[in-house]
């Protein structure tokens, strides 16, 4: 295919580097330096999509972030599909595959457009709120069809093959936008020695200068850009980020930047490179030099392909060497657009006329156009367009001085392109992200940034200052000021900029060009092209009472699209103001929020996916567990062995084997994950007494004690054993999941409530590897591995601990038990955990030592009625509710945490839910955990529930099922029967009993 619209010279493309690409299945060619949009235009492609609601053909309108129509599907394979890529911001690369997003069967012939044409009148804003209500049962069907029509592009269905990452930055001056203003600012700030970051969303730095014919210091602007870029690149304290969109400006000068590192290279990133990168910047000062976007004028049929933004036309000609048509009608309310006429004329193609809404204008550019002999029609406007799939003609008419009415005769100018300019809208978006509201400025006919809390400076186009010399000077000044306020400079000699000033005549505020017919009857005048929002739609919204601009937005969907209304919003606000008879300042804007332009989910997630989504925490014995076939359970961030199946075993068979091994011989558990806190200081005891519910004053050295912790409300929140290592020295254990929480809670109380207590706490969770050997043979086993610990049952008693050596490694051994069997918890420095574990396994072989995991541990402890905080409790239970009043010492001198809470009216009510044991009447039935109990299973629904099963297992020890659960008033209802209705309609009958199912006297651990 030939590039019919490509000029033979000029622009910043490299004609020596042709690139081929695909659009809608056809091959085309463009050049390096093209965007997908410029390449499509070069090839004379008019229709690049269909509109969302009415399915009208659409063409490329803009050249940058404000483009509403050209949102394409990109991707050569299923896994690399990217929906909704703005063609104006997608660099062309060899082999790029693209297609239009909407349109069925294709964009050139779209069946849906007939629905739009016929049904369009039936589809004003909000029509769906008024219909589809009958019959009620049909809504799911209606919705199915509504949803079919939804969406623009499509997501891949496969895992993304690319990777993304994040880089953190700190800088003195963050500059957003690398147009003349931003570059001048960066140069100034960098000269002071400040750390500078400058980012621009475009492929290269230069901003508006990339398509400008102006001279800076006597040379083409692009030369100046190159010089400055080189200068900045040489400075190690300057970070330059082209292709990087500052997508969010957050509180306290936190800025996020989305860098597309590889999107210009190919379908997916080269090996070893992330596709995109999020930069997270904390800046002292931020300089916003984001420039301004041109505003189109709104007139009837302004969506026909060939209607474009004036400045975009200039950009395509000057930067890309592409003339997007043959015959141009230019419609403007200001001088700047005359540049477009000059550019167009310079290509040798025809400028049919410049239609200027102003009665007269005599600025330098206007004069140049008139001097060229181009027809300029003052006091007129394009009010309608002829053409379906491409502009055929512009209808123009005289316009009253206030722009409210057409006057005089209308004329039809045949042309294939209409470029329009209604002036400029400063890119205020970022300045609004932190809550600042923009303010309307009549002088520049636009919104400018309002007051802010941030350390933010603004310069150039964003302030409505468009003169190039002003931009350079303002940018430079801001650069210096920002650097100085960050503690750098001042510098001696400042660069001087010489730029010829262009005299401009005053612009006219014009947004909606009136039609011969009133708004409601005129042909569609599009405001938001992506969402098919028209001036009539806005008028209708206000007529129905949606008068706040926020209501207008939500009722019409104006600004909801992927362009977030960059092109249309200000016009929409002006039209709302007009139909309400208010000023634009009164109407105000909607809220600009991140993102400035949409950014990839993958990029935000960065490397935090899959394996790295969250830390996996392991104990020192993990290699052994893996080698020995453990299955793992996620407990917090920990991976804990769940059980150790042998080949061919079912889970229940493994559990039975593991349980019986503990009961009959010896089992071994990796208990390293328990939280451990080393507590030292002379007030340690007092501190323990305040944070645990029970007493600690008399716990002797060498002794251990179990304790419950409550919050101030008296509800249990953690538990564990604390041991007295020495008079002023304790070791506290917590639940695995609660470790960090408990330590932070202890610190909170110590630091803020009781700083006078002399106590220090240090986490030693990771330091100690803990292995529990449990079972009647555990003493024998231990005896074979230690010669310096006296294991005699009367010297080393239950709830004692002893220091010594185990398997040649210094250890602390705690005789505590969570299984009810004779047990020893062996703690060694984790550097030696694996070696001691292996030794235990080796020596334990003679007792058939059996490793067991959390599941077996749960069964064993349930046989003994020991609770697991978080499983048997849920933050609504006091120690008394758990039947653990024995662990509360209400007479302690200090009102320990939880004491007052558990005495509140509701907490002492007689009929509270209490933890009891439950035995299914059929011993082989394991009541499903979570099952709710009722007194009468035949009562109507809703039933009165008594509580639920918290733990439930098959106990191989007892040869039957056992369960623990809450029952209202349960502690006084021993022997009663309760019922557990199941999802399948069956009912499980169970008897309330003591939760201690096995060895109630504790004989087995006291041996």
């Amino acid at each position: 295919m030939s590039q019919t619209n490509r000029l033979s010279s000029g622009g910043l493309i490299d004609r020596r580097k042709p690139l081929s690409f695909q659009y809608n299945g056809k091959q085309y060619q463009g050049y390096e330096g093209d965007t997908l949009a410029s390449a499509l235009l070069a090839n004379g492609v008019d229709i690049i999509g269909r509109s969302f609601k009415y399915s009208r053909p659409r063409g490329i309108v803009a050249a940058g972030a404000e483009e509403p129509n050209a949102v394409m599907q990109i991707g050569a394979s299923e896994a690399t599909q990217i929906p909704n890529v703005r063609a104006t911001q997608q660099a062309l690369y060899e082999g790029l595959v693209s297609s239009a997003t909407n349109g069925w069967p294709n964009v050139d012939f779209d069946v849906m457009s007939y629905v739009g044409k016929i049904g369009g009148k039936m589809m004003p804003p909000g029509f769906y709120y008024k219909t589809f209500m009958w019959p009620q049962t049909m809504w799911p069907t209606y919705e199915k069809y509504i949803r079919k029509a939804a969406g623009l592009g499509r997501s891949s269905t496969m895992k993304d093959p690319d990777q993304y990452d994040t880089l953190n930055h700190h800088c003195d001056v963050m500059i957003v936008g690398a147009g003349p203003t931003g570059l001048a600012a960066a140069r100034a700030a960098a000269a002071t020695g400040a750390r500078v970051i400058i980012a621009d969303e475009q492929e290269m730095f230069g901003g508006s200068l990339l398509s400008s014919r102006e001279l800076i210091n006597g040379k083409p602007a692009i030369d100046w850009v190159r010089t400055v870029v080189d200068e900045l690149s040489a400075n190690p304290d300057v970070v330059m980020l082209p292709r990087s969109t500052v997508n969010g400006y957050h509180d306290h000068n936190f800025v996020t930047i989305h860098e597309r590192r590889a999107d210009h290279i190919g379908d997916r990133a080269p090996v070893g490179m992330t596709r995109q990168r999020m930069h997270r910047v904390r800046a002292h000062w931020v300089v916003l030099a984001t420039g301004a976007q041109e505003r189109p004028l709104v007139f009837a049929h302004n969506d026909v392909p060939g209607v474009m933004l004036a400045s975009a036309v200039t950009t395509y000609i000057e930067r890309f060497g592409v003339v997007p048509g043959n015959e141009l009608v230019l419609m403007t309310s200001n001088d700047d657009a005359y540049l477009t006429a000059l550019s167009w004329a310079s290509t040798g193609r025809k400028v049919v006329a410049v239609v200027d809404s102003r009665a007269k204008a005599d600025g330098d550019l206007v004069k140049q156009v008139i001097d060229k002999g181009i027809r300029v029609i003052f006091g007129s406007a394009v009010y309608d367009v002829d053409g379906g799939t491409r502009v055929k003609a512009a209808r123009i008419s005289g316009l009253t001085a206030d722009g409210k009415k057409l006057t005089g005769k209308s004329e039809t100018l045949s042309c294939d392109t209409i470029a329009s300019s209604g002036g400029w809208s400063p890119v205020v978006h970022l300045s609004c992200h932190t809550g600042s509201r923009p303010v309307w400025d009549d002088n520049i006919i636009g919104f400018v940034p309002g007051e802010t809390q941030q350390k933010q400076l603004i310069a150039g186009g964003i302030r409505g200052h468009y003169d190039l010399l002003d931009c350079l000077t303002e940018g430079m000044n801001c650069g210096y000021v920002a650097a100085e306020r960050s503690g750098y400079g001042p510098v001696g000699k400042r660069p001087e900029y010489k730029v010829a000033r262009i005299r401009r005549s005053p612009a006219m505020p014009l947004f909606l060009v009136p039609h011969l017919k009133p708004i409601s009857q005129a042909p569609k005048q599009f405001v938001d092209l992506q969402n098919d929002v028209t001036s009539a739609g806005i008028e209708l919204a206000t007529r129905e009472g949606f008068e706040s601009i926020e209501h207008v937005k939500r009722y019409t969907a104006m600004g909801f699209g992927t362009d977030q209304g960059k092109l249309g919003n200000i016009n929409g606000m002006a039209i709302t103001a007009q139909v309400l008879g208010k000023s634009i300042a009164e109407t105000g804007t909607t809220v600009f929020r991140p993102n400035y332009t949409p950014i990839t989910f993958g990029a935000i997630a960065g490397r935090n996916c899959g394996e790295l989504f969250d830390a996996k925490r392991y104990s020192a014995m993990q290699p052994w567990h893996e080698e020995n076939g453990a299955l793992f359970e996620d407990v917090g961030q920990w991976k804990r062995p769940w059980y150790f199946p042998k080949s061919g075993e079912t889970m229940q068979q493994s559990l039975n084997r593991e349980v019986l091994a503990v009961r009959n011989s010896v089992g071994i558990l990796d208990a390293s994950t328990l939280g451990k806190i080393d507590i030292q200081g002379k007030d340690a005891r007092e501190f323990l007494a305040r944070v645990y519910t029970n007493a600690w004053a008399k716990l002797g050295v060498g002794k251990c004690r179990y304790g419950l912790m409550c919050k101030e409300d008296g509800m249990v929140f953690d538990d564990g054993v604390t041991s007295c290592l020495a008079e002023n020295h304790f070791l506290m254990t917590t639940t695995t999941g609660g470790a960090a929480r408990v330590l932070e809670w202890l610190e909170l109380y110590h630091q803020t409530e009781w700083p006078e207590l002399e106590v220090y706490m240090t986490s030693v969770t990771d330091h100690w590897a803990t292995m529990t050997i449990s079972g009647p043979n555990s003493r024998k086993l231990l005896a074979q591995l230690t010669d310096d610990i006296d294991l005699d049952k009367d010297t080393f008693k239950f709830m004692d601990w002893r220091p010594g050596t185990v398997a040649g490694v210094p250890a602390r051994v705690f005789r505590i038990s969570f299984t009810g069997e004779l047990s020893y918890e062996i703690n060694v420095s984790a550097n030696h955990g694996l070696q001691v574990w292996k030794k235990l396994m080796e020596v334990g072989k003679q007792y058939d030592i059996t490793p067991y995991g959390t599941e077996t541990m749960h069964v064993l402890r349930a046989e003994k009625g020991f609770i697991i905080v978080g499983q048997d409790t849920d933050s609504t239970l006091t120690p008394y509710d758990l039947g653990m009043g024995w662990a509360v010492a209400p007479t302690k001198p200090f009102s320990f945490i939880g004491k007052r809470g558990m005495a509140r009216e509701d907490a002492v009510k007689p009929n509270r839910k209490q933890l009891v044991g439950l035995m299914a009447k059929k011993p082989d039935v394991v009541i499903p955990e979570g099952s709710q109990a009722v007194a009468n299973p035949n009562q109507p629904i809703p039933m009165t529930m008594l509580g639920h099963i918290t733990s439930s297992y098959y106990s191989a020890t007892l040869g039957r099922s056992i369960a623990m659960g809450l029952i209202r008033g349960g502690l006084d209802r021993m022997g009663e029967t309760v019922y557990y209705p199941q999802a399948d309609g069956s009912v499980i009958e169970a008897e309330i009993c003591s939760p201690v199912f096995y060895d109630p006297k504790g004989d087995r651990q006291n041996v």
């Binding site: 920990w638 007092e686 290592l725 803020t752 990771d766």
Partner: protein
């Protein structure tokens, strides 16, 4: 929580007179260290294929003695005593002091991390216990953490991918110590040299952090010493 303007008197209820030692002291290192496993000793590093430039080098300083010392700097004798035993002053805010292989890092206004060669650990612990006075705490955490040194021209970029702390020379000179978040874990970082960053890594997070680090380092060329 409460605003404690005038500390209440500590209740004396807890203290019982006893001849027992006040703190438990224990040499936790076996004589035979041949089977010891440092937190990273088993990690299977994936280094860049040879021939590539190496921008980041990782090196574990395994099996050192690690101690958390806590105490009050207002207690002059505690400060003096610590300095006497350690041979260096307790460093002030965000600083470290080193003498040979012994490094003391500031962690908090009342907290320091001391690392020493493993074989000296117990001697130093004992000497501190003997010498220190007043309210203080000393905890051996040698099994719970390790030091990983990242060096090379791009080590700094691995840090910038992993934590949001400002690692620029102007903010993070050699010798500075910072406790911060690192990926989704907590980490203490000391700048040990111009291109040398020493991370304190908790054992249970070691695999995760190592995997994270090598992934971050891949693009620069990664080697392990």
């Amino acid at each position: 929580m409460s605003e404690v303007l005038e500390p209440k008197k500590a209740s004396a209820a807890g203290t019982v007179a006893s001849a027992e030692p006040v703190y438990a002291l224990m040499d936790q290192r076996p004589a035979d260290m041949s089977n010891a496993e440092s937190p990273l000793s088993r990690f299977r590093w994936q280094v860049s294929s040879s021939g590539k430039n190496v921008g980041v080098v990782a090196r574990e300083l395994a099996l050192l003695g690690h101690f958390i010392l806590r105490g009050n700097v207002a207690n002059a004798d505690f400060v003096k005593g610590a300095a006497e035993v350690l041979g260096v002053e307790l460093p002030g805010t965000l600083k470290s002091n080193a003498k040979g292989n012994l490094v003391v890092r500031w962690l908090a206004p009342d907290e320091w991390l001391i690392t020493v060669p493993g074989e000296q650990a117990f001697a130093i612990e004992s000497n501190l216990r003997k010498r220190l006075t007043g309210h203080y705490s000393l905890v051996n955490v040698s099994g719970g953490q390790t030091l990983l040194v990242l060096s090379g021209a791009d080590a700094v970029n691995v840090l910038r991918k992993s934590c949001h702390y400002d690692v620029h020379d102007r903010n993070f000179p050699v010798g500075k110590v910072v406790g911060t978040t690192f990926a989704k874990a907590q980490c203490v970082i000391r700048r040990a040299g111009q291109q040398e960053w020493e991370l304190v890594i908790r054992r249970s997070f070691a695999d995760y952090l190592a995997a994270w680090i090598q992934d971050a380092a891949q693009e620069y060329g990664f080697a392990v010493k």
